[in-house]
Symmetry: C2
C-alpha cells in the first residue's frame, strides 16, 4: 500500500502536509495529547519537527514549551527529542526516556505520575485543563473518515474527543492488517451518567474497531513510514528463571488447594525482562487455556498465543521485539482473533480487573519488610519511570504479586529494605513478593510475621543478618516503650540503608 492510499478520505487528503508545517500549528504553552504506549504507536515525525522549532525559538528570546500527555512511554523520537531541547514543561502520565528522566531529576521538567486508568477520566472531568492539540498515529483513514488505530490505543480516543485541533500521522509502516484487531469502547460517560461496562471475559468485544474523529478538527495529516521503537529482550537469565519457577510453583499450589481455577485467571504482566521470563516459564509449564488481560502485550505473551497455551489476550499496546514483531506480522491471520487492543482506560479499568479476577504480576524497585512496595523512586528522590498500570492492577487484582531480583548494582543494593524510600503500593495492596530467593505469601499475615517471611524467603542471604538485626532491635525498642509492636521501626535508622548507599555506594550496614 502506498502512503497516500492509506488516506482514503478526500478532505483529509487535502490536509496532508510536512511535519514541519504541522508543527507550526502547535503553540507555546499548549497541552498536547500524543499517542504512544510503551514504545508503540507514537507519532514519529511531528515531535521531531516540533523539537527543531522549539530549539530555534529557545535560541532566541522566545521561551517555547508544551505539556505532553501520552498513553505511557514513547521513544527517543518523541520524549527524547522534545526533552532534549527543553520543550516539555509538564509530562504525564508515564515515561521511561533517559533524557526525560534526567531532566525531571534535575528539576528542569515537571512530571505528574498518574495511574494509567485515571488519565482519560480526569481529562474528561476537566481536572488537567484544556487539551489543545491531539497528535495521533494511525494505520490508515477509511473513506468515511474513521481511523484505523495503530499498534497502541492508549488514550487516543480521549485525545481525539477532547482536543481542539487534531494532527494525524498516518504510518504506512504499521501493517494494514491491524485493521479489525482494536475494540474502541464509546460507552464511557462522566458521572452521574455512567453504565456498567458490558465485559465479562477477556475476549469480549464491546466497542468498534475504529477511532472516530470530528473531521473539522483535523488541521494536518502527516505521512510517515517508520517502525516503532522495538527493542530485543534479554534472554531470561538465571535470576529471572528462578523468579519464574517460584511463581509457577505458587500457581500450582493455588490450583491444588482450589484457590485458583485450573486455567488460572487472566494474567497481567508488567513490562521488561523479568515479566517476559515469567511468561516464558508459564509457556513451558503445564497450564492450558490461559488468558491475558494486561496493558502491554510483549514477546512472552505472543509466544504463549503461538504455542496455544494462551487462547486470548487483551491489551492496549503491542510492544514486541523486532523478532517477535516479524513473527506477528507474518502470521497476523493466526493472531487476529486472539488479540484485542483496547483504550487504556478499559485495559486497566478497576471495574474490569476486579470482575475478571486478574492475576497481577509487576516488577518493582524495592519492597520493605512489612510489604510496602516502591515502584518509582530510586533512593526515594529520583524518578525511574513511573507507576504505570501497576496500581490499577495490584489494587483490584485477584492476587497481586510484585517481583524483583533480591539485589541490584552487583549486590550493592538490597531490594528488600527496612523501610522503602517511597511507597507506590501499600501493605494493604501487596499480597505476594517474589525474588530469585523465594516467594513470600503475605495474605492474611500481620506485619511482624510479614517481616519474618519476607526476610527469610526473599532477601539475599548477604542482607538477611542485617535485616534480622534491624527487626530485633526495633522490636526490642518497642518492648521498651519506644514505638509500637504492630509495625516496629527505628525511625532514625529506617532510611539509613538508602542514605548509606548515597554516601558510600553500598547499602549493607556494619553489624
Amino acid at each position: 500500500m502506498t502512503l497516500s492510499s492509506r488516506i482514503q478520505h478526500p478532505l483529509l487528503k487535502q490536509k496532508i502536509m510536512s511535519a514541519e508545517s504541522a508543527a507550526l500549528l502547535i503553540e507555546n504553552g499548549d497541552h498536547v495529547g500524543m499517542s504512544g504506549f510503551t514504545g508503540a504507536g507514537y507519532p514519529k515525525l511531528l515531535p521531531q519537527a516540533l523539537a527543531r522549532r522549539i530549539e530555534l525559538a529557545n535560541q532566541g528570546d522566545q521561551k517555547f514549551s508544551i505539556g505532553v500527555w501520552t498513553g505511557a512511554s514513547t521513544a527517543p523520537e518523541l520524549d527524547g527529542a522534545l526533552a532534549k531541547v527543553g520543550g516539555i514543561n509538564m509530562r504525564l502520565p508515564y515515561q521511561s526516556d533517559p533524557t526525560c528522566r534526567a531532566r525531571i531529576n534535575a528539576g528542569q521538567m515537571d512530571y505528574v505520575d498518574l495511574h494509567l486508568s485515571h488519565v482519560a477520566q480526569i481529562v474528561w472531568f476537566g481536572f488537567l485543563g484544556k487539551l489543545n492539540v491531539a497528535v495521533i498515529e494511525v494505520a490508515g483513514v477509511l473513506p468515511d473518515g474513521r481511523l484505523i488505530p495503530s499498534s497502541s490505543v492508549g488514550n487516543n480516543k480521549t485525545w481525539l474527543d477532547q482536543a481542539d485541533k487534531v494532527i494525524l500521522e498516518v504510518n504506512a509502516h504499521q501493517s494494514a492488517a491491524l485493521e479489525g484487531m482494536h475494540d474502541i469502547y464509546y460507552g464511557t460517560e462522566r458521572p452521574p451518567h455512567r453504565k456498567p461496562i458490558p465485559m465479562e471475559h477477556t475476549g469480549d468485544r464491546i466497542g468498534e474497531p475504529y477511532l472516530r474523529v470530528d473531521l473539522n478538527k483535523v488541521v494536518a495529516v502527516v505521512e510517515t513510514d517508520l517502525p516503532d521503537r522495538n527493542t530485543e529482550f534479554n534472554a531470561p537469565d538465571q535470576t529471572s528463571e528462578k523468579i519464574a519457577s517460584h511463581i509457577l510453583a505458587f500457581f500450582e499450589e493455588e490450583v491444588k488447594m482450589g484457590r485458583m481455577p485450573p486455567a488460572l485467571l487472566p494474567l497481567q504482566s508488567g513490562v521488561g525482562n523479568i515479566a517476559n521470563a515469567v511468561l516464558a516459564g508459564l509457556n513451558r509449564g503445564s497450564f492450558e487455556n490461559l488468558t491475558g488481560f494486561t496493558e502491554v502485550l510483549q514477546d512472552g505473551m505472543l509466544a504463549m498465543i503461538k504455542s496455544g497455551k494462551m487462547t486470548m489476550a487483551s491489551a492496549t499496546a503491542l510492544s514486541l521485539s523486532p523478532t517477535a514483531n516479524q513473527e506477528f506480522l507474518q502470521n497476523l491471520d493466526f493472531y487476529r482473533d486472539k488479540i484485542i487492543l483496547r483504550p487504556q482506560e478499559i485495559s486497566n479499568h478497576p471495574e474490569l480487573i476486579r470482575r475478571l479476577g486478574v492475576i497481577s504480576m509487576n516488577g518493582m524497585l524495592e519492597a520493605d519488610i512489612y510489604g510496602n512496595v516502591n515502584s518509582t523512586h530510586v533512593m526515594g528522590t529520583r524518578i525511574m519511570n513511573g507507576i504505570g498500570g501497576s496500581g490499577d492492577f495490584a489494587r483490584n487484582a485477584y492476587v497481586s504479586m510484585f517481583m524483583t531480583p533480591s539485589t541490584a548494582k552487583g549486590g550493592a543494593i538490597s531490594c528488600i529494605v527496612p523501610m522503602v524510600s517511597h511507597v507506590d503500593h501499600t501493605e494493604h495492596d501487596v499480597q505476594i513478593i517474589v525474588t530469585e530467593q523465594g516467594l513470600a505469601d503475605l495474605r492474611g499475615v500481620a506485619p511482624r510475621h510479614r517481616a519474618e517471611l519476607i526476610i527469610q524467603r526473599c532477601a539475599h542471604p548477604d542482607y538477611r543478618p542485617a535485616l534480622l538485626d534491624y527487626v530485633q532491635r526495633a522490636q526490642h525498642n518497642a518492648q521498651a516503650g519506644q514505638g509500637g509492636m504492630h509495625t516496629p521501626h527505628i525511625l532514625d535508622e529506617a532510611l539509613s540503608w538508602h542514605s548509606r548507599y548515597e554516601r558510600e555506594g553500598q547499602m549493607l550496614p556494619k553489624l
Copy 2:
C-alpha cells in the same frame, strides 16, 4: 414485640439457648466471623459469654483464643471483652477498641488491616482459611427462616454463607421497622463467573431485604434486648467548621467551573467529628438534591436527609448518636425509602465507587509535603484504628479528599510533615488535602509544587518555616547532586520530626 416473637421459624425457636451455652459451641483456634460495623449491629451477649469462658480456660492450662473477623469496628462488649482476656489471636479487618489497640501495639495480638471491600472476596477465595463460626446479630427471623438484618450489614452475608456453624443473636432492641431497608445482593461470584453489578444510582435496589441462611447450620439462637454502642458527637468546633468551609468553597468553585454537577455527586464521608462537621456545613450550604454513597451513615447525613438536602443515602451501617437514633426511630417511615443498607463489599465496591463518581472525604493522621497520607500508624509504629474504607473510596473516587486539623496534641504534632511515617494513600491517590488553614488542590500538580501548596495552604503557621527550611535544604542538596529534584528529601532527616516527638514530646525542630 416480645423477644420470642422475633423468631418466627419453629426450628430456630428450638435452638434458643443462653449465651453461655452458645459460647461452648466455639472452639479454641476457630475463625469466627462476627457481625458489626462501626459500633452497629454487633452481637452483644455471645462475645461476653465467650470471654468469660476464655478467661476461665486461660486461668488453667488451656490456652484458648480465636480469630475474630468482623465488618469493621464493634464495641467494648465484643472487641473489648475478648481482647481483655487475651481471647483474640488475630483480628481483621478494622478495629477502634482501646483494649484491642493496646494489645496490638504491645505485640500481644495480631492485626491484619485490610481494605473493607476486599474482605468478603478473599474469604470466598480461601485466602484466609476456613471460617468456622458466624455470630450474627439480626433484628428478627421470618417464618421461612430468612433473617431481618440489624443496624449494619457488613460482611454478614459472607459469614453466613461461608461458616460451618451459625449462631444468631436476635436483638429485640433493634427496631422491627428496619425490615425492608436492607438490600442484600446475592449476585456476587468468584471469577471467572462474575457479572457487572447492576447499579447505576445510589438508590438502586439490586438485591433482597433479607439475609439467607442454611437452617441446618444454625447451632444456636441467643435472644438479646440491648442497644448499639451509640455515642454522641462533639458539637462542631472552630477547627471543624473551618475545614467544612474550605470544602464548601471548593465544591462551589468546582460547580462554577463545570467540573461537578450542581447536585454534586454521591458523597462518601468517613467517621468522626470532622466528617460530621463537614456534613453539617453542607446541610447549611446551598447545594440541593445531594446523595450519599458511603459506608457509615452518621448524624450529619441523617440531618441532611431530614432537611431534604439529601434525597438518598446508601451505606452498610447506621451509626447514630443516641439523639439521632431517637430521631431516626421516631420518623422511620420518613427515612425508610431514603436509606439503603448494603453489604460492605457493595457499599465499598471499586466498580460502583468509580461508576457513580463518588466524592470521597476521609480523615487522616498526617500528610506529607508530597501528598502521601498516613491514616493508620501513630509515629509509624503504633496502629490507631485501621484503613477502613478510605482506600476503597479514595482510589476510585471522582475526587479524593483527606482532612485533618493542621496540628494535634495541643500543637506538639504537626499533621503536615516532611515524610509520613507510614503510607496508606500514596501521592497517586490523594487529590485534595484540607486543614483548618486551607485547602491544597493537588490535581495535575508535580511533587515540588505540591510541597509549596501543601505547606502554604495546609500547614500550621508555627510549622511552615521549618517545613520550608526542609524543602529548601532538600532541593539544595539535590542540586548539589545528593538525590533527585523530582521528590527532594533529606533521607537522614525525613522522619526526624517523628523521632523528635517520641524523644521530646514535640515535633518542631530548632531552626
